[in-house]
């Protein structure tokens, strides 16, 4: 049973970077903007947090730095894609390529640096409690933060007026503008929020999950997060479901070994990517569901009069 608890802890941890990145991108897309730069922003968040953590010895400070750095990067995207009306797909790709290059460039000296990361909770007495101790109190603090984020995002979208306005902007920005809402400002805010979340997702990998810095350490999680938003048909609770499902697929290597399956590690490592493809195809097939749930203006360049 303890192995069960262990697996749950590992699964949630593996899914957490996806939770952060995908929830952030969900808000961005709800406002009608498609930001493909998640992979780049996650890596920049990772290296920024790692550097600050290494220099100050304070991993939580690093986390904040990661969020800020990624948000700054997303600002570039916002200026080019929103204010300068560039194609959102191309700009997002540029952001990813730039972020991948920037993080590799800046992170070169930090390849074998060791830091004190954010460790999973281990409260004496409570965490040791059989099964439930670990299940409820044995997670990394950031896992709890990510769940709190989910609650906040859900409440924001469906219980607050601001969330209603955001959804309206994503649905029909011209109508929102006609009523008088500042569409550009709202989209800028959404993009920055998404950037910060992606940064935290990447930072989690660098200062909590591993913790270390390796070039390209997100290994495509940013792209998977994008697929997750589609898979979730833009609903926060489905994002959580998808993220943890992927978390478990990522752990498949260990699970396969445990089950005694002999497969080359590289082939097992393809599982998350193949799973993403299959899941994406399965959900995209239902055009009606996509049409009803996708923000109608997603990806379209907005021209204020």
């Amino acid at each position: 049973m303890d192995t069960f608890a262990q697996i749950v802890v590992l699964t949630l941890a593996a899914g957490t970077p996806l939770v952060f990145a995908a929830l952030g991108e969900l808000i961005v897309e709800k406002s009608g903007v498609l930001n493909l730069g998640v992979e780049g922003m996650m890596l920049v968040g990772a290296i920024a947090s790692f550097i600050v953590a290494a220099k100050t010895g304070a991993p939580w400070l690093g986390l904040c730095a990661g969020a800020l750095a990624a948000a700054a990067l997303s600002l570039i995207f916002a200026v080019i894609a929103l204010t300068l009306r560039a194609n959102q797909v191309a700009t997002g790709l540029a952001l990813s390529l730039f972020g991948i290059g920037l993080s590799a460039f800046v992170g070169r000296p930090y390849m074998s640096v060791v830091i004190e990361g954010i460790r999973p909770l281990a409260v004496r007495g409570i965490t040791d409690f059989p099964v439930f101790g670990k299940l409820i109190f044995g997670h990394n603090p950031l896992v709890y933060v990510s769940i709190a984020l989910f609650i906040v995002v859900h409440a924001f979208l469906y219980r607050t007026r601001a969330g209603l306005v955001l959804r309206a902007v994503g649905e029909a920005p011209q109508s929102a503008r006609a009523i008088g809402y500042p569409v550009m400002t709202i989209r800028y805010a959404a993009v920055l929020f998404g950037g910060a979340c992606a940064g935290v997702g990447g930072a989690f990998l660098a200062v909590a999950y591993t913790p270390s810095w390796v070039e390209g350490m997100t290994a495509g999680r940013g792209w998977i997060a994008l697929a997750l938003v589609v898979f979730a048909t833009w609903k926060p609770w489905r994002v959580m479901l998808g993220a943890y499902l992927f978390g478990s697929v990522t752990l498949a290597q260990f699970q396969a070994q445990a089950a005694g399956i002999e497969l080359p590690s590289q082939l097992l490592a393809t599982l998350p990517y193949l799973a993403t493809i299959i899941v994406l195809a399965a959900i995209s097939r239902d055009e009606t569901a996509i049409r009803l749930n996708a923000p109608a203006s997603l990806g379209k360049t907005y021209h204020p009069e």
Binding site: R161, A176, G180, T288, R291, A296
Partner: protein, 518 residues
């Protein structure tokens, strides 16, 4: 339509007009949309702003509502000068606007849509307030319904109720009747008269002369951005209003009597299930268009026209070949290109993005539908032949453009429409389908296009026109049918129908349509 004089007390001009515009000027690249426009609206007055498409009416309303800033001019509200910087500011002053193209959010409910337009402080007890207002003015609404399930007429009610909940002192209605059946138009007029009777001023934007004469107390006429006349429309005739509007008499196309031949387009039991959650399912549509006649299909938008056009043009292929027959050949399963090869031409509703590629030149756009033929040899494009073809169309239809290399989007709406019409006619089709052929087009081009369709008919082509403009259909069609909720009424000769009967057919009998109150 209704030609009774407006009810209610005679409107005496108050000493201080509620709204006074002086010298409003607005320039856009290449066009002077408003040129020193003056306008006065008194309390309780229904004031028409009359002009054809492109005269500057919409721009003027956007200035009043704060969506657009004028380059020059002053606005006085109840005597005091104001700057309307934003729609929120306009609403706080007491100005409400019902847009021509609604600013609604389809996936949200009526209540949420209205909530979004209200200030946070006034949003309590909203569902009940919505019901109260809608009952008071005869605009039935269910706050919990999602907008995408509602018909166009119902959506307009949401727009109006949204404005009314803010207790406006000036209500701007931008071309409100283009989406209504004749009966719904009468009900709208009643609502507006009630409002005016309570002291609310109404700015009524339209190009429909009969309606303005029936409803409005005063009218300001705009032409090419300038005020060319002010009058009391109740004392004018349609002809005199038209003269102020276009500077001449309203032209009428020349008709010769039709001699219909064999059916060129036969539609038989067409059933199309739409997979678009916002679309309309077509049920058992059957009709035919004979060579040398013009058949019109009237109907309020959103009743299946889009789906019918896609099924006829081949943009959507069907399961059954015999559902659509073109000059004797069943083509239901064939795509658009194949149908064109058999003699079909099609003028779609949207010029930019559908009928023409905005970024491409007129020459390239000629190639768009003329691909199978002398313009392509062994798969390679014959560039000089293409440009020559485009030039011919430009000359033949008097399209104002710098040449065949001009980008489609650089043309005005009317000119681009003329080009597209010319391109389609230039392919010598046996069947021509036209959707909203003169929508958003100035009067001169409109007349030219309608005449071209009639000339085409006289040459023995079968023409089908699908339009929301009843006046246009009555003017050029030989037979008329009505589409409502995906079903088609039988096509009757024009002489045997009446506006009232057509209006009833447009309303349909299904529960989600406008209910007919007899």
């Amino acid at each position: 339509m209704a030609d009774s004089f407006p009810a209610g007390s005679a409107v005496t001009a108050a000493p201080v007009p509620r709204l006074a515009l002086r010298g409003i000027t607005k320039r856009y690249p290449g066009v002077l949309a408003n040129d020193h426009v003056d306008l006065d609206v008194s309390p309780g007055e229904i004031h028409a702003v009359l002009g054809e498409n492109g005269a500057g009416k919409s721009t003027l309303m956007k200035v009043i509502y704060g969506v657009v800033r004028p380059d020059a001019g002053t606005i006085r509200w109840e005597g005091a000068p104001v700057r309307v910087r934003s729609p929120a500011r306009a609403r706080r002053l007491g100005i409400g606007m019902v847009f021509q193209h609604f600013s609604l959010f389809e996936t949200l409910t009526v209540e949420d849509n209205i909530r979004l337009a209200l200030d946070t402080s006034s949003a309590s007890g909203l569902p009940q307030r919505i019901r109260d207002v809608s009952a008071r003015y005869g605009l039935t609404l269910d706050p919990a319904r999602h907008v995408h399930t509602m018909s166009v007429g119902e959506r307009q009610r949401v727009e109006i109720v949204r404005c009314l909940l803010q207790n406006p002192r000036l209500l701007i209605m931008d071309e409100p009747t283009s989406v209504l059946t004749p009966q719904a138009v009468l009900r709208l007029f009643d609502t507006l008269r009630t409002l005016a009777g309570e002291g609310c001023s109404i700015l009524y934007i339209s190009h429909k002369l009969d309606e303005i004469r029936a409803l409005c107390h005063r009218a300001t006429v705009l032409r090419a951005g300038r005020v060319t006349g002010e009058c009391d429309p109740r004392l004018e005739t349609s002809a005199s209003l038209a003269r102020m509007m276009i500077g001449g008499n309203l032209p009428h196309p020349v008709h010769r009597t039709a001699h219909a031949g064999a059916p060129a387009l036969i539609v038989e039991s067409l059933d199309v299930r739409t997979d678009d959650p916002f679309g309309t399912t077509l049920r058992s549509i059957s009709f035919e268009v004979r060579a040398g006649e013009i058949v019109g299909i009237a109907g309020v938008s959103g009743n299946g026209q889009k789906e019918l056009l896609a099924a006829l043009s081949g943009e959507r292929t069907l399961a059954r070949d015999s559902a659509v027959t073109l000059c004797g050949t069943p083509v239901g399963t064939r795509d658009a290109f194949a149908r064109r090869r058999l003699g079909l031409a099609f003028i779609p509703e949207d010029r930019l993005g559908h009928g023409a590629v905005p970024e491409m030149s007129l020459a390239d756009n000629a190639l768009l539908t003329a691909r199978g033929g002398a313009l392509v040899s062994h798969g390679f494009i014959r560039a000089s032949a293409v440009r020559a073809c485009a030039s011919r169309t430009i000359t033949a239809f008097g399209v104002k453009a710098s040449g065949p290399d001009a980008a489609a989007r650089s043309l005005s709406g009317g000119n681009l429409q003329k080009y597209i019409v010319g391109r389609e006619i230039g392919q010598h089709p046996k069947v021509l389908i036209a959707a909203q052929p003169t929508w958003g087009v100035d009067v001169g081009a409109s007349t030219q296009i309608r005449q071209a369709l009639i000339d085409l008919r006289d040459r023995g082509v079968a023409v089908l026109v699908i339009s929301e403009e009843l006046d246009e259909l009555v003017e050029i069609c030989d037979r008329l049918a009505v589409i409502a909720q995906g079903r088609l009424s039988p096509a009757k000769p024009i002489r045997e129908t009446s506006a009232e009967e057509i209006g009833l057919l447009m309303a349909g009998a299904a529960p989600s349509g406008d209910k007919v109150v007899s």
